[in-house]
Every structure is written in structure tokens, then in C-alpha cells.
Amino acid sequence: MIKSSGTILDGDSRPEGSGTGTGPRNADDCGKLLLLQADFDGELDAAQAVVLAEHRASCPVCKRNETILAAARQAARGVAYHHVSPELLRAVAGRIGVPRAEADSASEAPPRCTRAWIPWQGIAGFGAGAALAAAVVLTLLPAGRPESIAALVDDHVRALQPGHLLDVVSTSRHTVKPWFDGKLDFAPPVKNLAGAGFPLLGGRLDYVDGRAVAVLVYGRGKHLLELFVWPESTGMAEPARATRDGYNVIHWQSEGMSLSAVSDLDPAGLAEFVREWRQAPP
């Protein structure tokens, strides 16, 4: 928030040639233009919001500018998010000297070059209705099932701290899968979904509720997804969702394994991940 540097329009944050300055104003600027924009961007504190609310109730310019802000956001958030290719991830891993994957790009699908990442805004209009629907029809996880939802989210948040995320850094399931050998008494399924826009980044071993779990880490734009895998039968084969502290969780079962995907990614995006995971061959 801007609050910490004083109000939005003072000191070094005074916009050039706009807003409250003495220079000429253009037709867009009723004097509260940048306050309006800051409100739109969630950057206003309560005091500024009050000032703005009084003004905009009777300002036709503000009303028009709101439409411009909304149109710009809809346009900008719909454009291509350029995802890193597995080859580049491997190349970078090599350059910075971390254990690199064997060259096995043939076994991984090439990245989808289209805009695989559809933002939450205007989602129905962009033909991603299916993803949204998938998220909506998921049943809610019954309270307390599995018991460890809170523990999973806590672990996910802890892992996001520097240095805790990955024990093995690799985009290759042929590197990540053997890494777990001998460290766990079960063999977690490992899939790279780079082709679907969810590149595998690596994995780690963790303990959740006193039980050893395999954690697979995936990227999605600026978001991280973690898939927790452990052997347990909860009798819940179909995916069910939960939300805790702003993180979304989808839990399901497959072949004697419990799987929980945890992320701050929106529910539709997480549902897409789960769908891709379940469809991908082992």
C-alpha cells in the first residue's frame, strides 16, 4: 500500500503533469483520476477512499474513467502469458549449477504456445467456461476430511519461504521420481504437465501430521502449485475442494494414494490442473 509513504499525492509520489499539479489538465482528469485508479488497483487507504467516494458520486468524468480502467484490465489480463519452456528451465538450471535433468525432452509434451492461462476476469466470455464449471461442480470437502487440510496449507505456506521449497530441482519426472526412492516407503506418481502449462519444477520430502509425504512442485505463471501425495485410502475417489486462508485445496484419490493440490491459484485454474493430472498417462 502507498500509505506508508504518506498520502498518495504527496512527496515523491506526486504524478508528473497530472492530478493535483498546476500544469494543464487533460479532459480525463477531474483532479481525482489517480485516486480513482489507485482505488481500482486496491491501493487506497480508508481515509483516501472516503475522499474519493464523496467526489465520485457526482463526477461524470470519474464514471467514464472507471469504464476505461475496466476495459483496459479486461484487455490486458486476457493477453498471452508467455510461459517458460522446459528446455529453458533445464538450460537455466544447468547455468546456475543445480542438479540438472537428463536430456529427455522427447518424453515431454512441447509447451502449448497458445494462451493457456486464462485469468479469472471475463472468464466465461473467453471460452474457459469449462474450467470454471469444473471448479464449481466440485463438491466441498466435508469438514475435517481429510484431517490434514490445515496442515497441508500450513506446510505449503512454510515452503514458500526462501530455501524451503525444493529438495530436488528438475523439470524431468525421470529425475524427480527416482529421487524419492529410498526416502519414502511408497513410490509417488510423478507427471510433468508442462504441455498443459503446468511445468514441473521439482519436489521435496516433507512431514505433514507426522507422516512422510511426497511434494511435487509445479509452476503456473506467477503461481506455485504443490501436489502432496501419500498412501492412504479415504474413500473419496472424486475430487473435492476446500479453501483455507485464501489457498485453494483439491483432494482426490487414485490407486491407493491420497493426493491434495494446494495453491493460491484461483479455483478454476487449480481444477484445470487436477483435470490435466488425472488425464495424463502415468
Binding site: M1, I2, L9, D12, S13, R14, P15, E16, G17, G19, N26, A27, D28, L34, Q37, A38, D41, T67, I68, A70, A71, A72, R73, Q74, A75, A76, R77, G78, V79, A80, Y81, H82, H83, V84, L88, L89, A91, V92, A93, R95, I96, G97, V98, R115, G125, F126, P162, G163, H164, L165, L166, V169, P199, L201, G202, V217, G219, R220, G221, K222
Partner: protein, 174 residues
């Protein structure tokens, strides 16, 4: 984990964001890949001075600097042949033209065209828009990444949005 692995765990999760920014700044996948590789090597060198805070903002700051250096070098090469061909527009003085935002709202559904319109924004405006709308950084973080005062970030953001909507609305009458 060794220190390299600590770096990897801090920086690698932001590789997508790094690539996205580099791609939007250069307009080329191949250039963006070179820039990301160079930036990550640089980041590894600077890592001992990383003091925590948003790792994503820190990584993108390095990516941006690397990208600008590459773009400048290339512009220098080209200047030998042709002079002043693509001088930067003075982004602070772009005039506003009346637009119909309602029309732009409808037209913004055409995403391929929006890609092209954003490509045509001056780089200072383009990066501010990408950092805000695609990466959802706060004003303060954008200010840090672009080494620009918050007030300038705000006016650039408005100009970027305004130009984008304007260009979208103009396209229809063409």
C-alpha cells in the same frame, strides 16, 4: 541444500514471470530466452546481497535491467546504419484523444489484437502495464522493479491503460 540450491529454490519458481516480462519487453521468444539465462546467472552472482522480501520482484528487477541493456546494445548497433528511426516516444506527453470506452470493452475480447496493441505501447508503459495486470504487483513493487517514483508509476499506468483502450476503440473505425 547447498547455497546454489537455496538460490534455485528462491529464483526458479519465478522463471515464468521472468520469461513473460522479458518476452513482453523484447517481443521475441529467442531474445527473451537469452535474457532470462543471462539474468539468472547475474542473479546468482548478486544472491549474497539479496535481503529477503519479494523474491519475484527481486528477480524481475534483474531481468528488466538485463533486458534494457540488451535492447540498448541492439539500438546502438542499428544506429550506425539509420539515425533516429525509432527514437523513444516521450511517454509523459502523449496526448489523449476522445475514445469510446464502451466500444473498447467489447473489442477487447479480440485477444490476438490486444497482444499487438500492447506490443506497440512504448516500453515504459508496456512494462508498467504487464507488471500490474499480468503479474499483479503493487505500485510499490513496480516502483522498485523499474527504479521509478511511485507517482510516475501511477501516471504511466494510466497512460498505458488509456492508450490501450484508445487504440482498441480506434481499430474499429479503420
Amino acid at each position: 541444500m547447498g547455497s546454489d540450491n537455496v538460490f534455485a529454490a528462491v529464483a526458479l519458481p519465478h522463471l515464468d514471470a521472468a520469461f513473460n516480462l522479458a518476452r513482453w519487453l523484447t517481443g521475441s521468444r529467442a531474445d527473451a530466452e537469452d535474457i532470462v539465462q543471462e539474468a539468472m546467472v547475474r542473479a546468482l552472482t548478486y544472491f549474497p546481497t539479496y535481503r529477503g522480501g519479494s523474491a519475484r520482484a527481486w528477480v524481475l528487477q534483474i531481468v528488466r535491467n538485463t533486458a534494457y541493456r540488451a535492447l540498448q546494445a541492439r539500438r546502438g548497433e542499428r544506429r550506425g546504419e539509420q539515425t533516429g528511426a525509432d527514437e523513444a516516444v516521450d511517454v509523459e506527453t502523449i496526448p489523449d484523444i476522445a475514445v469510446d470506452p464502451e466500444k473498447a470493452l467489447i473489442l477487447s475480447d479480440d485477444l490476438c489484437r490486444m497482444d499487438a496493441l500492447i506490443e506497440r505501447l512504448p516500453p515504459e508503459l508496456r512494462e508498467t502495464l504487464v507488471l500490474r495486470e499480468l503479474e499483479e504487483f503493487s505500485y510499490r513493487e513496480i516502483s522498485q522493479i523499474t527504479a521509478t517514483p511511485i507517482g510516475t508509476v501511477m501516471s504511466r499506468l494510466w497512460r498505458a491503460r488509456r492508450l490501450l483502450v484508445q487504440a482498441a476503440a480506434e481499430g474499429e473505425t479503420r
